[in-house]
Subunit: 463 residues, 2 copies
């Protein structure tokens, strides 16, 4: 019997002094922090910490740094790429109790929030003030997790991603030091952009403890539209044309016929067929929204789009976007006892048709069920590969299909991840995508900011 | 007599072998690379290199790295903060002969250019293709210089700064290694954001040798408008109201009564008075532009704005914006044999009135002439302090005034630099602005990427 005290035991004992029962070694709690919504192999952390202040995070990081204990940040657990899995155990740092909206400025259209605030919580809070935060990945994720993974979603085509909508951060470094990055101004040329360095660093460079977000005014008018196509090509060509005309669409989402079939039955959509379909949303003045819809109707008509129906009433819009956001679950529901793996290729828009149609061929050749849905205005699409858990070969076949689709995306000048991040699942592609030297620069920055390698080890980089 | 060969002599001898007469030690050439448009003390570089390829830049950097010789990048020499001054001599790396537009993609609305391409050159090239690059700092600067300083300008209020409009870079590192950053896609979540790390690093982390820029469609309709106010407060409050209403103005520029007086005489503007004035531009569809102008007219009217005149003809617009871009020279022309020092404070828009009116008080108290002009939609304004070169105390008094205005900006939650960069002139403010720990992180990144400190030494950081 090994009675030697492990480093993590020192951390647990010392952290209990200031976290009390907000440091848990309970098996169920650890189990709940063993991975996100992905299919990575679950790993139990040694303990789960629930800090409620920057100071607590800082003290905990200083302890873990001293004892060289791994720390994996945890938000809503909605990662699809293994970010939340504590592959080398240690501490799972759950930030969901840091969920206060600290400031909202109507005049400056910005706000300061803690990382555990969810985007739903924020938008509910903002509604009365005529403001909203546009980045919308669909899931009930935390804003800290969104920053860490450089999230985007359906509105990014108009409002940009987290990259464009975060003004500054408070970050606890690996050794417990606290820094503030960025500026409260709309722009600044005042030194290195540490904000953007932290955005998308997936918890490997620091722990985000405060976020200043840029907000937008709720548009005077909003309308949604649906348009169906006989062919996927027609739908994709329409998207390319709309983007090139510079129509400021707020959302332009593509669902292939398999995905539409799934959504029609899952979300009880009426009056729509299992055909390639675009879901659109327009934001602007009353006149502007109407003008945008008319332009898009004309464009889609030219590519065989039919049944262009647009709705300004909230109920119809909500039903449509709820169905879109439930696409992942609608897909998973296509087979009994299934899980989903989502690809996340993003390509230059000129290569979108090629990448999408190629992916469709790969899916057919694989014999798997994989509906396609995409933020196609940004060239980003997901193949939701349905993995039947009773089939022992399904997971391997799904990853093989994923790899093929990524390879096509990279060959088309794209990236392995438009918005889900690298995590565990996309590490193998980074060297192909960036080249060995750029990856070496990323590693050198990691080593500078986290010399002991305690922050979310095993993510982004292989080895 | 010291006959020892200096390290730079080794570099010059070895670089001659591949640069030939594109490595100059001519006194006039060195003099022309001793500073930018700023008032920093000129320093002669030991030699000026004019590479024409990434490979040449890489070989030169490897040499300078080996011999620990400083390298200061040089573009159009339009820096206002001393970026181009080779304070520790060595090599001035002039990138203006790398001025090729390598690719333009109409479908993807992006292009690949060398760093010596100027924004005028690029926009002339793009015009026939219905595209433009929106970032417009006014001066005839190179795109490499704009990236290095995180430039912005009049259109940033709508289109963002260089930060938002650069998709990726090719960068030669301090030791000559070449990396590619970013992605050709509109978004990506694929590792650390090295693009944004390089943007605004002012030549201290690497030499930018290729740039992939995001382009925009030339809008269907453009109109300009001018509106004059009895008081500066009225003009500023109008700007705040327009921004809060979310009107997507393409430009909203403020000139105070002193600046207007200078511009009226310098640019022969007719029908306008020396009063606080807004210059505006609207981009969109015909109907959209009209709607925007009407909304702004109504808002400005509510704050005492009068003579709201809007013009869709190109000639009137060009005259107006030429006058705006010449504001710096119009100010300098207010006194004989003068130079200009431009402050560059940027504040949250809710604090704009306070910062601007405070600056105005400081100017009056100083007894100096300093017209104010600003990209006020972004909270950024410049006091153009006119420095008479015959007055031996003028420069010191100008810097003292600059410091006061910056201090007010920082107290208002702003930054010392909205768009000109840190260079030499703003180094002293960075610790106040970011805090010692964040500055230490910046230094550690500098040390990691440039361990010998050869890239633009003396800039951004004090000491």
């Amino acid at each position: 019997m090994n009675i030697e005290t492990r480093p993590v035991d020192h951390v647990i004992a010392a952290a209990r002094e200031f976290l009390g029962d907000r440091l848990s070694t309970n098996a169920t709690v650890r189990e709940g922090h063993s991975r996100g919504e992905d299919t990575s192999t679950p790993v139990l952390p040694d303990a789960v910490a629930f800090p409620i202040s920057t100071e607590e995070v800082s003290r905990l990081m200083a302890l873990c740094h001293r004892h060289e204990v791994p720390v994996t940040a945890f938000g809503a657990g909605t990662s699809l790429e293994g970010h939340a899995t504590p592959v080398r155990a240690g501490i799972s740092l759950d930030l969901t109790r840091m969920d206060h909206i600290l400031e909202v400025s109507q005049e400056d259209m910005d706000c300061l929030v803690e990382p555990g605030v969810t985007r739903h919580q924020l938008n509910d809070h903002l509604r009365d003030q005529g403001l909203f935060f546009p980045v919308d990945p669909g899931s009930h994720c935390t804003l800290g997790g969104m920053c860490a993974t450089r999230a985007s979603g359906t509105n990014a085509v108009r409002y940009g991603t987290v990259r464009e909508n975060v003004m500054g951060l408070e970050v606890v470094l690996a050794d417990g030091r606290v820094i503030n990055t960025g500026s409260r101004t709309r722009k600044a040329a005042n030194g290195y952009d540490l904000t953007r360095l932290m955005i998308g660093s997936e918890g490997t460079l620091g722990i985000i403890t405060k976020i200043r977000l840029r907000l937008h005014g709720i548009p005077e008018a909003t309308s949604a539209a649906v348009c169906q196509f006989a062919t996927l090509e027609g739908a994709v060509e329409s998207v390319i044309a709309v983007m090139q005309m510079g129509v400021p669409v707020a959302r332009i989402e593509l669902l292939d016929e398999v995905q539409m079939g799934a959504c029609i039955s899952y979300s009880k959509l009426e009056g729509l067929e299992a055909l390639p379909t675009l879901f659109l949303e327009f934001h602007g003045t009353e006149a502007g929204v109407q003008e945008q819809a008319e332009t898009v109707q004309e464009v889609t008509g030219g590519y065989g789009g039919r049944g262009f129906a647009w709705a300004t009433d909230v109920e119809t819009r909500n039903k449509l976007w709820k169905a879109r956001h439930d696409a992942f679950w609608a897909s998973v529901a296509l087979r009994p006892n299934a899980r989903g793996i989502s690809t996340d290729v993003c390509v230059p828009i000129s290569r979108l048709a090629e990448a999408l149609l190629g992916a469709k061929e790969d899916i057919e050749a694989s014999g798997m069920v994989a509906p396609i849905v995409g933020h196609v205005g940004d060239g980003n699409f997901h193949c939701l590969i349905v993995v039947e858990q009773d089939d022992p070969t399904a997971l391997d076949r799904a990853w093989e299909l994923d790899r093929k689709i990524v390879a096509r995306g990279l060959a088309a000048g794209g990236t392995c991840s438009g918005e889900h991040g690298v995590g565990l699942g996309k590490r193998e592609f980074l060297e192909v995508e960036h080249g060995a030297e750029a990856l070496a620069v990323m590693r050198s920055i990691k080593k500078t900011l986290d010399p002991k390698g305690i922050l979310n080890p095993g993510k982004i980089f292989l080895n």
